[in-house]
């Protein structure tokens, strides 16, 4: 029971007691013991006012207070000799007050004590009162009935109140939970938005029918318009994004992510932009495909850089090429020029013949250089392929190699598709590289064997080999480790192999030698 209410009720009780005393036999005198008791009672009420609230909430405290109240009131009635009046009503009042806020366990003992005190008072003031007197037989059960009913109803009301309170609490907690969840969801959404908006790549998500559901600032920038102008639009309706939608439709259809591909789009300003695009399917919670998300990257800067680099490379090649041509041609030119001057002065028939031969060799060499340049410079070559017996051709090339020993073995019959002159140039280059790399006991082992659609020619030498660094730069035009190399040999080899649709493998170990494997397409039997 609340302290405030308790004290108020006690106050009512005191007033009622004092009122009763006014009508008692002795009447109300300021100095009568009954009045003093009432006064003390009143003071105690004021003292209670200062006792902290939480102490009153304990049932034992209220119980004790009511116990004291009953005894005090009984004493006051006794001293006032008030049993002749309607004093007993005070008991009902106190029982009622005490029972409100107590359950039966609390109110019954108070009713018992009250009954005893009342019975004792009655016997005391009217000696000889029978236990069957109506004053006892009717009033005491009434005390209990009032106690039980009031405590029952008060318990009921309290229960209802607490249930209501609990319900209210529950509702409030529920509300708080819902508000928190809503806040969390907003947080999560804004977090995801921040992540997507911060990505340096363009992100664009579309639903199955092509409606744009998400687009981040980078994607909008690449596509050349504001984010909001894309939202909820259908990608099919946007001019210039046809290739993107084609890819997305494909991914949605197959439900498998795409590799990164390069496509071009037209932005809002009608500029064509190269972009890298990879698309992944998006699934909803029940695993059905709901759309797809594309990651796109603006490649225009990279493309421009590549073009610049290619241009610089081309210029650098051109410079190196010019220098190489100049050097290679000046030697035979010297011979041609010099011998033609000598021709005019010589009458010796043998010398005339020798000089003219030198002049012829010089022109041939220049012609050969021109062939090399053309082979190297051709961008795309359609070779006139015929059936060639490669083993025969290489056997011919390796005749008269001086002190270099040649061992040829393996497949005898297989023909390949190829162009004879190019193949001669290819193998001449490889063999002369081997010869240049070998010092003592030069030996080249050549093996032929078939694998899948290829005829493989393996050339192994016992030369000085190459470092990994050299191997990596082998096909770079004008890269050479030889003092008299042009740096074009292997570039030409590579070109010829490529033109034939073949493959080339080179393995080398420093100090041990180099092995080249040339894969050329075999003729189907």
């Amino acid at each position: 029971m609340k302290k405030r209410i308790l004290l108020l009720l006690r106050f009512v009780l005191i007033l009622a007691t004092i009122l009763m005393m006014t009508y008692s036999r002795r009447g109300l005198h300021l100095l009568s013991p009954g009045y003093l008791v009432a006064l003390l009672y009143f003071i105690s009420n004021i003292v209670f006012y200062f006792i902290p609230e939480h102490k009153f909430s304990r049932p034992v405290v209220t119980f004790a207070i009511f116990l004291i109240d009953i005894i005090a009131i009984s004493l006051a009635i006794y001293l006032a000799q008030g049993m002749q009046t309607d004093f007993y009503l005070i008991y009902f009042l106190i029982i009622f007050i005490a029972s409100v806020g107590q359950d039966l366990r609390g109110s019954i003992p108070i009713a018992v004590v009250a009954s005893f005190l009342y019975g004792w008072l009655l016997m005391r003031t009217n000696p000889g009162t029978s236990i069957f007197d109506s004053a006892i037989l009717i009033r005491i059960p009434f005390i209990f009935i009032v106690s039980i009913i009031s405590s029952y109803w008060s318990t009921e009301i309290r229960r209802e109140l607490s249930e209501k309170k609990e319900l209210e609490n529950f509702a409030r907690r529920l509300e708080q939970e819902i508000a928190k969840m809503a806040a969390d969801e907003t947080d999560l959404k804004s977090y995801h938005d921040t992540v997507i908006n911060s990505v340096a790549s363009g992100v664009i998500a579309v639903s199955k029918d092509g409606t744009i559901t998400t687009i981040n600032p980078e994607a909008a920038r690449v596509l050349g318009a504001s984010q909001s102008s894309f939202m909820d639009k259908n990608i099919k309706d946007i001019e210039g994004l046809e290739q993107m939608w084609d890819k997305m439709r494909e991914v949605i259809g197959s439900n498998t992510p795409s590799d990164r591909i390069q496509i071009s789009i037209k932005n809002a300003d009608d500029e064509t932009i190269p972009i890298g695009l990879s698309v992944s399917p998006m699934s909803s919670t029940n695993a059905t495909i709901s759309g797809c998300v594309g990651i796109l990257r603006d490649l225009s800067d990279i493309k421009a850089l590549e073009a610049k680099l290619r241009h610089a490379e081309r210029l650098s090649y051109l410079g190196k090429m010019a220098s190489w041509v100049a050097h290679e041609i000046r030697n035979p030119l010297t011979a041609i020029d010099g011998f033609s001057q000598l021709l005019a002065k010589t009458r010796d028939q043998d010398k005339l013949k020798a000089f003219s031969t030198e002049i012829h060799r010089g022109t041939q060499r220049i012609n050969h250089i021109i062939d090399d340049i053309l082979t190297f410079a051709r961008t795309k070559t359609h070779i006139k392929a015929v059936d060639i017996h490669l083993r025969g051709l290489i056997t011919q090339l390796t005749e008269n190699m001086g002190n270099v020993r040649i061992f040829i073995s393996g497949d005898v019959d297989t023909l390949i598709k190829g162009e004879e002159e190019s193949l001669k140039s290819l193998f001449n280059n490889l063999i002369s590289n081997s010869v240049d790399a070998m010092d003592k006991d030069p030996k080249i082992t050549i093996k032929f064997y078939k694998e899948d659609q290829w005829l493989i020619t393996e050339l192994a030498d016992n030369g000085k080999g190459m470092s990994d660094e050299t191997v990596q730069r082998l096909f770079t035009p004008f890269f050479t480790t030889k003092s008299r190399g042009t740096g074009l040999g292997l570039a030409i080899v590579k070109k010829i192999v490529d033109d034939h649709g073949g493959k080339l493998e080179i393995e080398s170990e420093e100090g041990k030698g180099t092995t080249c494997r040339v894969y050329l397409p075999a003729v189907e039997e």
Partner: protein, 119 residues
């Protein structure tokens, strides 16, 4: 007695041309690479050396340096398909008497040799 010339070039036609053009006046000894030229120059006496630069084994410039270590005064003429300063070819001018670029003008070469050592 004819004066002796050492001609070093890895191109056989060039050696032949130089020999044919100069042997009426001088004794010509040929070397086909820098290594041979170096060992000849260190072993025998020559009045003049004609040397190509880009050669296998011992590079022409290296051979010239080595010859200079032994002989401070012998005139050396470089014949090259490169021009001086082209493709990083830096020649110490103090080391060489002349730098002649291919194709060689035979009469100019003869005149230069005559100017350097006479007949």
């Amino acid at each position: 007695m004819k004066k002796r010339l050492l001609v070093c070039d890895d191109e056989e036609p060039i050696r032949l041309l130089l020999t044919e053009s100069l042997q009426d006046i001088y004794d010509i000894v040929e070397a086909s690479n820098g290594k041979d030229a170096l060992s000849l120059a260190l072993r025998e006496h020559f009045d003049l050396v004609i040397m190509d630069i880009k050669m296998p084994q011992v590079h022409g410039l290296e051979a010239i340096e080595r010859i200079r270590e032994k002989d401070k005064r012998i005139p050396i003429i470089i014949i090259s398909a490169y021009r001086p300063m082209e493709d990083d070819i830096v020649v110490k001018t103090s080391n060489v008497a002349a730098f002649i670029t291919k194709p060689i003008d035979i009469s100019a070469l003869r005149a230069k040799i005559f100017e350097l050592i006479g007949e």
